[in-house]
């Protein structure tokens, strides 16, 4: 079945079976392996991408149902060679250990920061209920987001 979508700004035409999951289309057909698969039940969040600007679990979406959609993956959030503020904070504050859950975590958190550039700690933790990490115990991730929030707050302060 033909499905046309936009991935990271580029058009993608694929002929896939209806049962193919969006995450498999992204990984196996488009070749973007930054998006990970770690559970079969839409719980861990390793496969989170943005569909039409909203963070969604790409293992719970049929590729054919993404026909016409604008999809952004971890590979598409920044210019090559540059990191977003969130990525920089996660790198510098060690908010990633094995790195497997990290792309999904970032795609999830980017929506949080878009909605609320200065989240507090409970807001960050609650938002992360859809992302499981077994390495960090989440603290370093939370610290990194708090730093981004702090930077946003001081930038806002500075702009006044």
């Amino acid at each position: 079945m033909r499905t046309d979508l936009k991935v990271n700004g580029s058009p993608v035409q694929a002929d896939v079976e209806p049962r193919v999951l969006l995450v498999d289309l992204l990984r196996d057909v488009v070749g973007l392996t930054g998006t990970k698969v770690a559970c079969d039940t839409a719980q861990c969040g390793s496969c989170v991408v943005h569909v039409n600007g909203m963070s969604q679990k790409s293992c719970a979406i049929l590729a054919v149902a993404a026909d016409g959609a604008d999809v952004t993956t971890i590979e598409g959030i920044d210019e090559p060679g540059e990191l977003t503020g969130l990525q920089t904070a996660l790198r510098d504050l060690h908010g990633t250990q094995c790195g497997f859950c990290t792309p999904g975590m970032i795609m999830s958190l980017l929506e949080l920061l878009r909605r609320n550039p200065t989240p507090n700690e409970p807001e960050i933790r609650t938002w992360l209920t859809g992302n499981l990490c077994r390495c960090t115990g989440y603290h370093s991730v939370v610290r990194a987001v708090l730093r981004v929030a702090q930077e946003a707050a001081s930038a806002k302060e500075g702009a006044k």
Binding site: K36, L83, Q87, R91, H94, T96, F100, C135, G137, H139
Partner: protein
């Protein structure tokens, strides 16, 4: 406490791990991301029964399905692939294993032979052009099973008339293993003023690293060589075992590559059926064969952790001196021994039961038993966590029995620093430490003297506040080869480091261990940068490819940094020594007058005589005018086999608040004081500590693998098996002490799993403290707390 390090040293600096850049971009390649041209896909048919005879397997429909290249069953490979081996057996005792044709202990088949013994056992493999086609064909295989009676409880498995798993293992008993002083312990308990007993189930857990396992097999007919990319935390070891004992091919013909690994916590140090299968099928079919597990598959087939059922006793005087400790444990090995499971289940647990305490008489006995559940392996802190749990629960019970403060009881019984090294009478000789100082520091952080006020204040808010202490010694750095041979390890446990200086002065560092998230590319570069006084930027760390890396034993038992680190440190020192000798010769001076600082060899008082690190490297590469006997280039490998283990220690204190009406528990604050010796990168170690503690909280509060009586796994995905989320992690107050280990030249000790070791007991003790009950079995759910509160103190 603060670590005393020279200023500007790279060792000890909180450098953000360089590998993080690839992780945050999603560019880091994991095994499932590796797809060589022409790759086709394997899926496994797994048993649906805990115990059954395979009457027949009909693969005709499956074989005819679109895209299917091969369907194989146990019968197809019986003569071609040998059973998997077990290489860590219970040491020093008689033990019984399934057979292996080479006489080594067997550990199950690549594909089931006539019988399945646990849910998830591999029964057949399908290879097809796409994973979708392969799974369709797997589902089209018709297996006729004749269910057999199953047994899932280790004590039931030892009973007369219990279903028998292996012909070679009478009564399902792999081994009866003991350590310590049985008679003395029994007599001391009999004569004691105070005796406290507990029945503990240290429940089976599923590690659940975020990355499920994966393997990609390639075969090159031109050279008759195989390459395996796999989620292996012991690439060299797995290469050896696969070539020699499973595939039966020359060692030279197998290369094993581990790319980035998405967490392990003990699970990826084992051999699994998929590893030889993808290689065998790649050769048979002439194309690369890839297999990627799912969460559901992982839950049913990747080794699981803990699972000790214990009767434990502590005895002591009325004035607070512990005189004896006894532990009887039934360890559930599952249906087959895993690669190193039986050793983990016996020595790592039994020898560790007395923790940091000086206990005159201690004895542990372990019945290692086969049952119809998933094979047992290691889970972060394995053995030591189970030991610490029982000791720390008993310490609280004993303190309560004699009416003494729980911290005071611990302080009175801890091995005093002046008695170290200390033989614990169970087989470990603690190398160094200051246990009371760590506990006092933790008490200070916790504001322990103020706890009564905090409890009263919480009561006013309608909450029950509890405080739990847990002190530990964690044996780490699985290392001394001869010593490990006595523990039943069928192999060496040294580790390696290689330093090669390029003519440009840049440095290639190659290690034998394998990161599963511990930032090896950074922390090992720091060691070399520190010794050679060069910038981190010129150092690149290679690993994980048996064709390129020096032999190493891999990453487990907190050994990469504490055994592999010193190997690399010594290799760097050898490089420096050679460079100093060469530089002296090039400058025409005696090397005793040569000073080395920040990348420059110089002669004090003679400013004309300098030679940079890079110049020296270039000169050694040219090889002109070398001192007599010196070989060109700089390339040093050191294999380090430590004289003994290292023994990190510490004390954790958990604060919980309980809602008495619902039983909901909130871990509000968690103090951890750990000692892993000198710390190479505090940022990395902090991450390990935080993650370790949350792993422990998972076990005590929510995690449990549950099987029904037929051996069906009831918790087979993350809808039915809970692991901690961001909202579960408490406020941390972390500190450490820095006692160096005498067993390696850097003084370093393990840190990757130590903080898991005391965590479950700290929280369990806090909960029991809050509600005033004797014990609540893990996982301690709100309902169990609510029932304990309802039913009163003797639950």
């Amino acid at each position: 406490m603060t670590q005393e390090t020279a200023t500007q040293r790279v060792f000890g600096a909180a450098i953000p791990p360089r590998e993080n850049a690839g992780f945050v971009r999603g560019e880091a390649v994991f095994t499932a991301d590796y797809t060589p041209p022409g790759t086709i896909h394997m899926e496994l048919l797994r048993s649906e029964h805990g115990h059954a005879k395979i009457v027949s397997i009909d693969t005709t429909t499956a074989a005819a399905m679109p895209g299917v290249r091969a369907v194989i069953t146990g019968a197809d490979i019986a003569e071609k692939l040998l059973p998997l081996p077990c290489i860590w057996i219970p040491g020093g005792v008689e033990s019984h294993f399934p057979p292996h044709p080479y006489g080594v202990p067997g550990a199950g088949f690549v594909l089931a032979q006539e019988r399945v013994r646990f849910i998830g056992e591999s029964v057949a493999a399908v290879v097809a052009d796409t994973p979708y086609q392969a799974l369709d064909a797997v589902n089209a295989i018709v297996v006729e099973y004749e269910p057999l009676p199953a047994v899932v409880d280790p004590r039931a498995a030892l009973a007369e008339g219990a279903p028998q798993l292996h012909e070679a293992v009478k009564g399902n008993l792999n081994a009866y293993w003991t350590c310590g002083d049985k008679d003395g312990t029994d007599k001391a308990i009999e004569a004691a003023e105070v005796v406290v007993e507990l029945d503990i189930v240290n429940q089976r857990t599923i590690n659940n690293p975020m990355e499920p396992r994966a393997a990609v097999g390639e075969y090159d007919p031109a050279t008759d060589c195989y390459t395996l990319h796999a989620t292996s935390q012991s690439p060299h070891n797995h290469r050896f075992l696969l070539a020699a004992l499973v595939l039966g091919i020359p060692f030279n013909k197998l290369r094993l590559v581990a790319t980035n690994i998405g967490g392990s916590f003990g699970t990826k140090g084992y051999l699994y059926p998929d590893m030889p299968l993808v290689l065998y099928l790649a050769k048979e079919l002439g194309v690369p064969v890839k297999w990627v597990d799912t969460r559901h598959g992982l839950m049913r087939s990747t080794v699981q952790g803990r699972d000790h059922t214990q009767k434990v006793v502590v005895a002591g005087t009325r004035d607070g001196k512990i005189t004896a400790l006894r532990c009887t444990s039934w360890s559930n090995l599952g249906a087959y021994p895993s690669t190193i499971g039986p050793g983990v289940a016996t020595a790592l647990m039994g020898r560790s039961i007395s923790g940091p305490y000086e206990i005159p008489h201690a004895f542990a006995e372990v019945y290692a038993v086969f049952t119809n559940v998933v094979p047992l392996g290691a889970q972060r802190g394995s053995g030591r966590a189970e030991a610490t749990y029982l000791m720390e629960r008993l310490a609280d019970r004993y303190a309560d029995a004699i009416g003494m403060d729980r911290a005071e009881v611990r302080l009175r019984n801890m091995v005093p620093p002046e008695k170290l090294p200390y033989d614990n009478g169970l087989g470990w000789t603690y190398d160094s430490g200051d246990y009371p100082t760590a506990l006092r520091l933790a008490l200070q952080h916790a504001g322990y003297d103020d706890v009564d006020r905090l409890k009263a204040e919480a009561r006013e808010r309608g909450k029950l506040l509890g405080v739990g202490i847990s002190s530990y010694v964690a044996i780490c750095g699985v290392g001394p080869s001869t010593r490990m041979s006595k523990e039943g390890m069928l192999g060496g446990t040294w580790e390696s480091g290689n330093v090669r200086v390029h003519p440009s002065g840049e440095i290639a560092v190659t290690i034998g261990s394998q990161s599963t998230g511990q930032s090896h590319e950074t922390v090992f570069a720091q060691i070399v940068a520190d010794v050679l006084q060069v910038s981190m930027d010129v150092i690149r760390v290679y690993r994980s490819d048996t064709e390129k890396a020096p032999y190493g034993q891999g990453t487990y038992g907190s050994r990469s940094y504490s055994v592999g680190g010193p190997a690399l440190y010594l290799a760097a020192q050898e490089i420096l020594l050679k460079m100093r000798t060469a530089a002296a010769a090039f400058m025409g001076v005696d090397q005793s007058v040569v000073e080395y600082r920040d990348g420059v060899f110089s002669v004090p008082g003679d400013p004309d005589k300098t030679k940079t690190f890079a110049d020296t490297a270039m000169a050694l590469w040219y090889g002109w005018n070398l001192p007599p006997g010196m070989q060109p280039t700089l390339d040093e490998t050191v294999f380090f086999d430590p004289p003994d283990f290292n023994y990190p220690f510490g004390s954790h204190i958990a604060f919980v608040e309980i809602d008495a009406t619902t039983g909901e528990v909130d871990v509000t604050k968690y103090v951890a004081v750990d000692d892993s010796g000198p710390i190479g990168n505090p940022l990395v170690v902090q991450g390990q500590v935080e993650g370790s503690i949350v792993h422990g909280l998972g076990q005590v509060l929510m995690e449990a693998a549950r099987f029904d009586d037929e051996g069906h796994l009831l918790t087979d995905d993350l809808r039915s098996y809970a692991i901690p989320r961001a909202t579960d992690a408490p406020f941390f107050d972390l500190d450490r002490t820095y006692v160096p280990s005498p067993h390696n030249p850097m003084g370093v000790k393990g840190a990757g799993e130590t903080a898991t070791v005391p965590a479950a007991a700290a929280v369990s003790n806090a909960i029991c403290d809050a509600i005033g009950v004797r014990d609540i079995p893990m996982p301690i759910t709100p309902e169990k707390i609510w029932r304990a509160l309802r039913d009163g103190a003797d639950t």
